[in-house]
Amino acid sequence: MYDVYKVREDFPMLKNNVKMHNAPLVYLDSNATTLKPQCVIDAVVDYLSNYSANAERGDYDLSHDVDMHFEGARETLRQFINAKEKDELIFTSGSTDGLNMVAYGYGLTHLKAGDEILLSYAEHASNTLPWFDVAKQTGAIIKYIPIDETGHITLDAVKATVTEHTKIISLAIMTNVLGFEVPIGEIAHYAHTKGIVVVADGAQSVPHMVTDVQKDDIDFLAFSGHKMLGPTGIGVLYGKRALLEEMHPVRSGGGSNARYNKEGEVTLKEIPYRFEAGTPNIEGAVGLGAAAKYLMNLGMENVVAHEEAMRKYAIERLEELDNVDVYNKEATGAIAMNIKDVFSQDAASLFNTYGIAVRAGEHCAKILDNYLGVNSTVRASFYVYTTKEDIDAFIEVCKKGDDFLDAFFR
């Protein structure tokens, strides 16, 4: 039995009753970043306090300890996404970094004029802007997979958009703002019959779903640590070994080369080290390893079930109100809504006054406006520690919507 109140005991921000605007914190912005459990904090502090040395280069015991923990974290993360081998996981600074590495390290070297890159209208900027630039540099063409009237991206829509020129499909597994799950496995299996490489942005899916890169046959997967209970500034890019062998390191320097001479002949290190030039974010990596371990101990199936239950409860409660618009009742991700006649930022400010953290805005998916018909929404997102009481507090403030300037005078 999943005991959310016991889970909350693991999070200092909740256990210590952190307040916002003099009210107990109700944190409904986990899609932006998550709170951190004690075990992650401990793992980071343990590195900084007890075995602080560099990785992958030392000749003494402490450095060996670092390697054990650093590579141990890589192995934990391999299990978390069920990759075949741990060396297919590159430590990055986050999803944005990983997607840029694929676009510039693989896209730029494999695309030519007239080739097509498929994206969707529901992508985060980090899965559009690098591709825009790569398309510009190579002469490749960006095409968009249409979203159907229910907000979904379907295999049929992908099939209808693919042509003989399609070389890369790059999609978020959980669509931005709308929060719908994309059938990435079906898409990848179909794409591979056409020789198309599938890049997946897992920033919003890996923390909230069971991820299996082998079952879904994903070619590249980028995700961030801080959205799955880990520290900021760390993430992972997964790539199939054969593709990583073909990928060009976008950064080079210490740690990426085995040897080189003054004539410029460079022998690169093995994968994944050739992609990790410079001293890595060691405390970030061990912290992320601890976060993945924590989530596996909870059981990702239980996490998924808990979030589903909370979302269902929130939708039921929202349906009791007649002064709100909910845009994605059937989705699995964050709830996108507005209080009627209240600009999203004014609403978020009102929630803030009652200690509730929600996000207002375009959520970095500016090209979605045309589809949704609204320029901005309030986004409430849940995670392992979200309770019905959190949602009740949220609903009570929704009821006060008419008086949103209240926030300005309290």
Binding site: F343, S344, S349, N352, G361, N375, F408, F409, R410
Partner: protein
């Protein structure tokens, strides 16, 4: 106590300027200097234009997608500075910002804009309450050939 120091009155003034913003709507006229204030951290996206006649601010207008606080504060700002000299306008902007950032200021100069005196309590709204004012400041700077707007 300031005559506007009543939350009900303050609320009413903000709502009035939000629902019926003054000097709203951009005119496509080369005599106007125009700037876009597109906050990178929030979603306010406001266009501001001003028509200068020598040292005078003959007209100020704005439009855009914005929250109640930025709309109302920009609306009040346009009424305050219209017909004033650039120097007078700078003085008003300076006093308004001093209020926002909790410094000493002269309430008589900023008149209705006094209703935003509580902004400091909502630190995340400071950019909303100043976006239009910064826009006008930028236009005045540009009209004087300064690049540091």
């Amino acid at each position: 106590m300031h005559s506007l120091d009543n939350p009900l009155v303050m609320r009413e003034i903000i709502m009035d300027h939000y629902k019926n913003p003054r000097n709203h709507g951009i005119i496509d006229d080369d005599a106007y200097m125009k700037t876009n204030m597109n906050s990178s951290t929030c979603i306010d996206n406001i266009d501001i234009e001003a028509k200068f006649n020598g040292d005078m601010i003959e007209d100020v207008r704005f439009d855009g997608e914005a929250c109640a606080i930025s709309t109302a504060s920009t609306s009040i700002m346009t009424e305050l500075v219209k017909g004033k000299s650039k120097e007078e306008a700078r003085k008003i902007i300076e006093n308004y910002k001093d209020m926002i950032y909790e410094k000493d200021y002269d309430p008589s100069l900023i008149q209705e804009a006094y209703v935003f005196k509580n902004t400091y309590k909502q630190a995340n709204r400071i950019k909303c309450a100043t976006i239009g004012w910064n826009g006008l400041e930028r236009l005045i700077d540009e009209s004087e050939g300064k690049k540091n707007g």
